[in-house]
């Protein structure tokens, strides 16, 4: 196999897609991850409908109770069922996690690839702009957004996406620089292949490894960042919950009401594990050099 193998295959995108899918399905860990993720998502979607408790109804007298037969995950300080709140929170967190990561992924990869491939002065300016955004005070930006744009949940994606793409861009740009001068890219350039085609066909496939890994790392950090943004008044408002806010408030009561931390944290961790297994599997399946 040569490195150019990727090129011959890419012209048969459909067969490659099926090929990759088959490889993914053969990967046991990816299968486990996939099933787990589907189960969690289903639980979050269906659970709150089936369970006879509401995420918002308080029972002040009942207060924080350890897990019992009525409340399998216990209750929070206001007597609300932790199970339902965890599942409801999952809807928000998985939604925000994916949407904001998609934003970050799209901006980061496009920006990094363009900067890394173009090189020279343009690259310098583009990367200095990234440095600038790194340094700006995120808290102030979020506070400003709350005032300027109101309370839409879409804004959370915007705000989170706006910070999370930076490192992605730097990684992609570094990889692209390294790839830019490799023989097969040179060859394509000499043969007059247009830039967009080179980027899509030659560079992008070779970025898959680090991009997938960093994407699976971005999702958990986005889910947790959401709790900080809610704190600043931009995110979900009570009585709605999210994994980030549940885990955060649970961590403060870890030695008094451990169940308020443990159950949301388990859901969060399982999701992250599942996504990482899927990510690893995807990476192996899509790797242009992967062994069959």
């Amino acid at each position: 196999m040569t490195r150019n193998r990727r090129e011959t295959l890419s012209s048969e995108a459909r067969s490659l897609g099926r090929d990759a899918w088959e490889r993914l399905c053969r990967n046991q860990m990816a299968r486990i991850g996939g099933v787990l993720f589907i189960l969690i998502t289903l639980a979050c979607l269906v659970g709150p409908i089936i369970i006879p408790h509401s995420y918002e109804t308080t029972n002040l007298e009942y207060g924080a109770q350890a897990p019992n037969t009525a409340h399998w995950f216990g209750t929070d300080d206001l007597g609300r069922d932790v199970l339902v709140r965890t599942l409801i929170g999952g809807r928000i967190s998985i939604g925000v996690g994916f949407a904001a990561t998609a934003v970050a992924l799209f901006i980061g990869v496009t920006y990094g690839m363009l900067a890394g491939y173009t090189g020279g002065r343009t690259e310098g300016i583009m990367m200095r702009f990234v440095d600038t955004l790194y340094a700006l005070p995120f808290t102030i930006i979020v506070i400003l957004l709350t005032v300027l744009m109101g309370r839409s949940i879409l804004l959370i994606f915007l705000a989170i996406g706006a910070v999370e793409w930076l490192t992605m861009a730097r990684i992609v740009r570094g990889q692209t620089r390294a790839l830019r001068n490799l023989h097969f890219v040179d060859a394509a350039r000499v043969n007059g292949v247009p830039k967009s085609r080179i980027l899509m066909r030659h560079i992008l496939p070779n970025l898959i490894g680090p991009v997938i890994v960093y994407t699976t790392l971005t999702i958990p950090s986005v889910i947790l960042l959401e709790s900080i943004i809610s704190f600043l008044g931009l995110g979900v408002q009570p009585p709605m919950s999210s994994w980030g806010t549940l885990i955060h408030s649970g961590s403060l009561k870890i030695d008094v009401y451990p169940w308020q931390l443990i159950f949301p944290a388990i859901f969060f961790s399982l999701t992250i594990f599942a996504l990482n297994f899927i990510g690893d599997g995807l990476r192996d399946a899509l790797d242009p050099r992967g062994e069959n």
């Binding site: 600038t132 730097r170 620089r177 649970g250 931390l261």
Partner: protein, 305 residues
């Protein structure tokens, strides 16, 4: 190489100017001012207070004064902490954050890279899953969970460490571990992926075919380019690490710089925000430059621009 270095240093000047200007604008548009409080002070008193800090001047003049002071390396007095200069606050807090961040970085690298490399070597085996599962702890348990958890076990439970503080050597361990596991997890995953990418490269296969010991092959040929994305990640990560972590500092009561990044923004402490932002900006620029230099050294091809 040297000319590139000098050019990049020169580029830092407009970058810093842009950061300073944007931050200035952001701060002045943000709602609420530094001297707003639960019980509002009478307007005439507030005007007097603002006059002390030159906030009564037209906004463009404030901007030029600020630029001038910054060029002279003076950020001025903190608005919130009366009696303290911004330089003084950074000067007292940064060494603490540097020490904590440095220790955490050592932990992160010495856990992350070996785990990542081993996981790649054992790719597809059960030991890979075990290794990466361990690394995932740092991601699944964010610092604000891991910190209290470590304290619960090792301080309240076993009594090995102080519950908080920064006075004796052993006080460094838990906070550095909390931060280190988080960054270590990222490094492990990026290393593993980088290793897998390069392990399958032809030259490694050739080297392996020649009968060299596998471990040697991996080290010699693989690691260098495998660490490429790790190094890219480390630039901003190191800048973030040594400029302090608000969460870890509050949990362990550590007098670092992270606290001021967050609180200065909440307090609308204009000078302190500016000081910390520009300080962080210099670190970011410096480490990203360092990263680019290291990447050039790692992959000589990228040198021709």
């Amino acid at each position: 190489m040297l000319s590139h270095f000098v050019r990049r240093l020169l580029q830092a000047i407009p970058t810093l100017w842009l950061i300073a200007t944007l931050t200035f604008l952001l701060l002045r548009t943000a709602p609420g001012g530094p001297f707003d409080d639960e019980k509002p002070v009478p307007p005439e008193v507030k005007a007097q207070i603002e006059a002390h800090y030159g906030l009564d001047l037209p906004i463009y003049q404030q901007y030029f004064n600020f630029l001038g002071n910054t060029l002279r390396g003076e950020f001025g007095p903190s608005y919130k902490y009366t009696g303290w200069e911004v330089e003084e606050i950074i000067g007292q807090s940064f060494p603490v954050s540097l020490e904590l961040g440095g220790l955490a970085l050592i932990i992160a690298l010495s856990l992350g890279i070996p785990i990542g490399v081993l996981a790649a070597i054992y790719h597809g085996k059960a030991s890979e899953t075990a290794l990466m599962g361990t690394a995932m702890i740092g991601i699944c348990l964010p610092t604000f969970v891991l910190g209290p958890l470590l304290l619960l076990v090792f301080s309240s439970g076993l009594g090995w460490f102080n519950p908080l503080g920064w006075s004796v050597a052993s006080d460094r361990f838990l906070p550095a571990l909390t931060l280190g596991l988080f960054y270590g997890a990222y490094i492990a995953r990026l290393t593993r992926s980088g290793m897998l990418d390069t392990i399958q490269h032809d030259y490694i296969r050739t080297a392996r075919a020649k009968g060299l010991k596998e471990r040697f092959v991996v080290m010699r040929h693989g690691l260098r380019s495998a660490l490429y994305p790790v190094v890219a990640y480390l630039g901003p990560a190191v800048a973030g690490l040594i400029s302090g972590s608000f969460i870890v500092e509050t949990i362990f009561f550590i007098p670092g710089l992270g606290m001021f990044f967050v609180n200065s923004a909440f307090n609308r402490d204009y000078t302190l925000v500016m000081g910390t932002v520009l300080f962080y900006a210099v670190l970011i620029i410096l480490f990203n430059l360092l990263v680019d230099l290291i990447q050039m050294w790692m992959n000589p091809r990228t040198r021709h621009d």
